[in-house]
Symmetry: C2
Subunit: 338 residues, 2 copies
Amino acid sequence: MSQSSKSSEPSAPVPTSADVARRAGVSRATVSYVLNNTEAVRISEPTRRKVREAAEELGYVPHAAARSLRAGRTRIVLMPTPHVPIGPLYSTFLDELQWALRRLDYTVVQYGSLGLSGDEAVRAWAELRPVAVISLGEITLSARNVATLRRAGARAVITMGPTAVPGAHALVMDQQQIGARAAAHLVERGRRRIGVVVPREAGLELFSAPRLAGARGVAGAEVEALPMAYSEESAAELAARWRGLRLDAAFAYNDEYAMLLMRALLDEGLRVPEEVAVIGADDLLIGRLLRPRLSTVRIEMPTGDHLASLVDHAVREPSEATERHDLMTAEAVRREST
Amino acid sequence: MSQSSKSSEPSAPVPTSADVARRAGVSRATVSYVLNNTEAVRISEPTRRKVREAAEELGYVPHAAARSLRAGRTRIVLMPTPHVPIGPLYSTFLDELQWALRRLDYTVVQYGSLGLSGDEAVRAWAELRPVAVISLGEITLSARNVATLRRAGARAVITMGPTAVPGAHALVMDQQQIGARAAAHLVERGRRRIGVVVPREAGLELFSAPRLAGARGVAGAEVEALPMAYSEESAAELAARWRGLRLDAAFAYNDEYAMLLMRALLDEGLRVPEEVAVIGADDLLIGRLLRPRLSTVRIEMPTGDHLASLVDHAVREPSEATERHDLMTAEAVRREST
DNA sequence: TTGAAAGCGGTACCAC
DNA sequence: GTGGTACCGCTTTCAA
């Protein structure tokens, strides 16, 4: 179960640029010039080769902390890691964003703020001196938090959420729209009494609350909030008392919850959509696997490129006014369940 | 669309411990002592208060890079961010792991290696001088990569994968087991000719290849690889030519692909499980929503605590032999589709 | 109980 | 073309 290895006992010291310089018989300055291809300075080809070889042989890797300490700034874009599985939609968006930022030569660091309070988390982020912070979801930043980050050198702070935070560039992804589109669709289809499923799972409030509020705001809809956990039991329990609720439609937070509920309603002998119309959100593939096919609200996320260039711009021109951008659109897609 | 803000023009300089010292009328050393609660040194209560207040007023946050440069080591545990949505199972595990590491006072940094080759990615990681690297999935580390990380000061390198990497602590999550359990279950149910769905999507090979290989290794099973994309079209296309394939069972990588395939097979008029048995993997909730209910392979992941303490131990005792740990178990769960 | 100063690993200015 | 050196922010010995 254990294979021994000749691991260095007190561990060999990490090679520094001084080591490279010594080995190549040049100064530390020269090493720096060569390895960074400094334009402003000419180094002879033989010297370059010697330096490169020495670095290679030693397995030299520059020390990011030392570099950014000297430079006085980093290229770190910090993104708090979400802890709730946030769905393929969001994941894809984040991936795109990472790509795009990397193309702009930023280093994307996801920092897990799990188990930290908002203030603690922000402090921890600030210690890394990120040039930008993109906080989408979970932790809502206060104005004070934004100030802390700015003082620590962040030139752009971007938040997602229903409301803009003073001092931050706000990327407003208005989740309300989603609830509004769903409820409006149901009303259009002749429904009035709409049950809105609210996940019992913690950490989703930032999404679920606005979705509920959005539905509430639709004229002609009577909305009832229905807490439900992501489990067969919880769905069955809700379905069992469905007839008593006197609802003719359900909007179920997203397609996964909608599927779960629809399955339970069907098992309970209710006809979908005749007796109860069901609509989800996010337009997930799995929504098309059950019969009737699930109607949904399709969400158009901003492209990663777009947000990345927003970040880049904010970093380069931090003196500009903070802006508010609405970057998300939603539309109902009718399939068979409504 | 744009609200102006009194953003500091050339941006005020970030406050340093020297600023705090000046404001409190003490030396930088004293500031350090107070803010770090250094045991070895006694500071009078009034001085402590002055320092704390000054720091508070300035919004001082220490500079992580400077600190770790001086200390000569970091508490960073680096985890490459996966770019493919990896499923709730894996996400939960990663969350647990983050929690556990934080409790042990490590800073978990997820570094997006998107768009970097293996070597480039490893170099970038090494620049951060992480004390440990936990690379699960996607990028497979070569022995050379591990050496690079070790030279850069990483005291533990942990990889996931079917095979151990020389010099790294290997957390072997043997995906082969999953394929083996699935195929064995099908053989037990009297099936012989098994189609194994292999996702066309890039980035999943690290999981899909071993699962396929595991199925191949089961006595009594004739295995055929079936490339399929995660889309209704691809599934329908596969289902359309199913009868010609003369297969009596399918193992579909995971429950999502299995659901997709099963739906397409049913739509094609095939009877499940009579004409074709279908089994997935990961035991996702959605697998229970279709009828017949999907059989699956349930995977038991190691607990985050366990892996965290493994990491911690490796960091403290790096001279110990590198070890290989088998941390994953899998078992078939029969529902109705087999 | 507090302060002065060295030094962590790079970079970039200025001399030679 | 190349080298000497000051400095980025923080911790920690050593002296006072």
